[in-house]
């Protein structure tokens, strides 16, 4: 995809420095498109689950046309008045949504969508992911404290407790994956799961790691059971109580897209990313050429998004069934159970790597 | 019962239509009487259901609905207070549930309970005038209510 994009832009015969500008702008727009699509689909999935639980015939309200209402609603927010609290720290108040959106956009740029489209192929992919997730938490805390409201401060402080609880097990599970793939870059992690198709996915050697990351992932994105930093019934809207208009739209957008991307990351780390589970592609029937590339691109993207949406459906189902826990519960659960389990996971992974080293590329 | 409670200056004793005993006690010793009923083995009045006030033409009547959970007995203690200067002793130290009831009666009838720790209006706004459940409450005159602005 990137190859064709580059070729297309080169054919415009622009000057060298201008080519790069156009290329990166195009890539940025593609990522932004992915971000919007993922945020809206996450929102749509949530509403769909609720409609299933309600057992009412909601076919009139949940169709393709009405799903555009989410778009309209968020677009509407751009024209609303921005209300700034009186004694807030103005710079930090406006900086926080920007930090959230930027950190999420950077995470989107790390993802390998197919064999050759990955904007940021950095060798230090996992490390940058960790730092970006922490940057996101920093944005939340900044927004909460700067807006000078009791609800916001409590929400931000609770998010700090959450951060302490989830960051350590998260890094430990990433270590397991890094040991298996002998690499930190995302494209390398995906390709190293390709040798024996479904059997060489990392879900099997580091199952415990997946379980820990699955539990942690809802804490990273502030969703129930760990949504105490924006608990509706206790703290009006938590850290984003004072935000309105565009700022609120940006915060909600980045939260929903982070929810989507975290599930996508667990697909990449444990379920072989964009790889087909059977090792067979429809594109194999065609001879190599531009048509082959287009089919392969579409197919690989399909697998990536299909796996992610399946995981999101499962996550949402669990999130609806369990009440919110207390901040204390998450901290004690994390230090008592999750960290020991993820250390055991690393040991298991190391043994597997030594004994069945040839199983993974 | 008659002989035992003679020390409490019982003014009147009757049984209502649905079979509930109603004892009218003098204002000065009704609190002693209630604490006696609470502690005595004969009538362990461990629940104060509710306190009800009623505006009769010459006085304000306070009814204490007592209930004994163990003996399954129901009793109403009635106290009469002066209509012009309604003052009565509080029973919040005996029954904690009386706190809201007494605040409500203070709100609605203007009865002042001596010894109550937080005797403010319960249902009506603090700035309102008059006691609505009194028979001579003038709706047209006291209709406008100023709501408090500082929350």
């Amino acid at each position: 995809m990137e190859f064709y994009l580059g070729k297309m832009i080169l054919s415009l015969n622009l000057q060298d420095y201008f080519t790069f500008v156009v290329l990166y702008t195009a890539e940025f727009l593609i990522i932004l498109f992915f971000l919007l699509i993922s945020a809206f689909s996450a929102d749509y999935a949530e509403k769909y689950i609720f409609s299933l639980l309600k057992k009412k015939n909601l076919s009139a309200r949940l169709n393709v046309c009405n799903s555009l209402k989410i778009l309209a609603n968020s677009f509407k927010l751009f024209f609303k008045e921005i209300i700034v609290p009186d004694k807030s720290v103005k710079i930090a108040f406006f900086l926080a949504p920007a930090i959230l959106l930027i950190s999420v956009l950077f995470i989107y740029s790390l993802i390998p969508y197919n064999t050759d489209f990955c904007v940021n192929k950095a060798d230090s992919g996992l490390v940058s992911l960790i730092s970006l997730i922490l940057l996101f938490s920093f944005g939340i805390t900044l927004g909460g404290i700067s807006s000078n409201s009791n609800f916001s401060i409590l929400g931000a402080m609770r998010h700090c407790v959450q951060l302490i609880s989830f960051s350590v097990p998260m890094i430990l599970t990433f270590m397991g994956v890094a040991v298996l793939s002998s690499s930190l870059s995302f494209p390398q992690i995906v390709i190293s799961q390709a040798k024996y198709d479904i059997l060489s996915w990392y879900i099997f050697p580091s199952f415990l790691g997946f379980v820990v990351f699955f539990i942690i992932s809802s804490a990273i994105v502030n969703r129930s059971p760990y949504n105490f930093s924006n608990a509706k019934s206790e703290l009006a809207d938590g850290y984003k109580t004072e935000y309105s208009g565009v700022n609120l739209a940006i915060i909600n957008l980045s939260e929903f897209s982070l929810f989507f991307i975290i599930n996508m990351i667990s697909v990449i780390l444990f379920f072989g990313g964009f790889l087909s589970p059977f090792g067979v592609y429809v594109a194999d029937w065609f001879s190599a050429g531009s048509f082959y590339y287009i089919i392969l691109t579409v197919e690989q993207m399909f697998w990536l998004f299909a796996k992610t949406i399946f995981l999101i459906f499962f996550t949402l189902l669990i999130q609806t069934a369990f009440p919110r826990l207390k901040p204390v519960n998450l901290a004690s659960f994390s230090w008592k159970y999750l960290i020991p389990v993820s250390i055991i996971n690393i040991l298991i992974v190391c043994v597997i790597k030594i004994v069945f080293g040839g199983f993974y590329v | 019962m008659e002989t035992e409670y003679s020390q409490f200056n019982i003014l009147n004793k009757q049984t209502t239509k649905c079979g509930i005993e109603k004892i009218t006690v003098d204002k000065c010793c009704f609190k002693k009487f209630i604490s006696h009923l609470k502690n005595s083995a004969e009538f362990e009045a461990n629940i104060l259901y509710s306190v009800m006030a009623c505006d009769t033409s010459d006085c304000i009547e306070l009814n204490y609905n007592l209930f004994s959970e163990k003996l399954n007995r129901y009793l109403i203690i009635t106290v009469l207070t002066d209509r012009n200067n309604p003052v009565c002793d509080t029973v919040t130290d005996l029954y904690k549930s009386a706190a809201f009831d007494e605040r409500e009666i203070f709100d609605m009838f203007g009865v002042f309970f001596e010894g109550h720790k937080n005797l403010t209006r319960l249902l009506m706004p603090n700035s309102s005038v008059g006691n609505p459940l009194l028979k001579d409450y003038n709706f047209q005159k006291e209709r406008s209510v100023h709501y408090e602005t500082d929350l």
């Binding site: 059971p225 608990a231 207390k326 | 549930s97 706190a99």
Partner: protein, 371 residues
């Protein structure tokens, strides 16, 4: 090291808040995440229902009564009707009594379902909320078929009910009973066996025996503290003494047991509904005492009290009549008022996130407390 926030923080929850069941205010003083003191302020929903009685006749006051509580209208209707019936010596035919009992138990189930759904939704899980509300909708549809309205059913009159139940409605109730007994098990799986719910509510907000009695709690809140007090058993009204049911008790007194008892109560109510519908299908008779003319009720001066066991506790209605066609004074004892009163003591020195767990478990309806 100096703490970031060394002064106490004051947070107002309400008057409009999704966590409270109506408009009421909790002024909370916080130190970090720990609650130092709570003050509950009510009266935002005061409609003067006791004052209204002085200007309305006995019949005119009847539709006002079920507006006290939007969840248990039948219970308030029953309390008022039975008080007036005692006042004027009106007999209620047996069939009418059975109809009343059956509808009241249906109302109890719908109220408990509302409680469970909203409680779990406040704690943050939506699935149970939708599950309970779909079940409640079925009951409301049945009630609409019978009485015409879903919530403010103006169905009871002095000496009976307004119109007779037909076989169609009874069949619907029987269908509901058979499907509901299955659904209760699923609801128990979703709520009682839920590990996250247990972690939130077990051992929290414990009300001891003495505290419950001293604060005059009634209903399931009192029964969870180990005291068996149910007006339906100790002083049966209508045909409750002819029916077979048990009163579930627990002695732990925490939020979890309060929730558990309400689920058990729904099962017992289902038993009562089954017995009543069995009786009503077989028997036929008067649904209303035809000797009564509700337009002309002139009781002599007297005082009557009637007690009814509502989903939230004991309702009592006191009527003082003075010989005219209007009551001199009507006093309502509403159980929610006493549940609100215990909040400051339960919430003190707890975590801030325990507020929803404790307030929700007491089943407070603020409009009932405000009158």
């Amino acid at each position: 090291m100096k703490p970031i926030c060394d002064s106490d923080m004051i947070i107002n929850i309400g008057p409009q808040s999704p966590a409270l069941y109506g408009s009421m205010k909790l002024a909370i003083k916080l130190n970090g995440e720990i609650i130092k003191s709570v003050e509950s302020v009510i009266g935002y929903n005061h409609r003067g229902i006791e004052k209204l009685a002085e200007s309305l006749t006995y019949l005119q006051y009847l539709p006002v009564v079920n507006k006290i509580d939007y969840l248990s209208g039948f219970m308030y209707m029953e309390a008022y009707c039975s008080a007036v019936e005692k006042l004027c010596d009106i007999n209620v035919p047996e069939r009418a009594q059975y109809i009343r009992v059956m509808l009241m138990e249906l109302n109890r189930i719908s109220s408990h379902l509302f409680y469970l759904g909203v409680y779990l939704s406040d704690l943050g899980s939506k699935a149970q909320f939708y599950f309970a509300f779909t079940l409640r909708d079925e009951i409301l549809h049945i009630l609409q078929d019978i009485c015409g309205q879903k919530i403010m059913q103006n169905y009871f009159v002095f000496g009976g009910v307004k119109h007779d139940l037909d076989l169609n409605a009874l069949n619907k109730i029987c269908d509901f009973c058979s499907s509901f007994s299955q659904k209760v098990k699923e609801l128990e799986n979703l709520i009682i066996d839920n590990p996250a719910f247990k972690a939130r509510t077990k051992g929290l907000g414990i009300i001891t025996k003495n505290k419950a009695l001293s604060y005059s709690l009634t209903g399931a809140n009192l029964r969870s503290a180990g005291i068996n007090l149910d007006i339906r058993k100790i002083k049966p009204y209508l045909v409750y003494d002819a029916l077979e049911f048990q009163v579930p008790i627990d002695d732990s007194g925490d939020c979890f047991s309060r929730c558990l008892l309400r689920i058990r109560e729904m099962i017992e109510s289902l038993k009562i509904i089954r017995q009543c519908s069995r009786f009503l299908i077989k028997s036929s008779g008067e649904y209303k005492n035809n000797d009564v003319n509700p337009l002309q009720i002139h009781p002599q001066s007297n005082t009557v009290i009637s007690h009814v066991e509502s989903p939230r506790g004991i309702i009592s209605c006191t009527i003082i009549s003075d010989g005219s066609d209007k009551p001199s004074r009507v006093k309502w004892r509403t159980p929610s008022l006493y549940s609100i009163q215990i909040l400051p003591e339960l919430l003190k020195n707890r975590y801030y996130s325990d507020i929803t767990a404790i307030v929700g478990s007491l089943d407070i309806v603020v409009s009932e407390a405000d009158r």
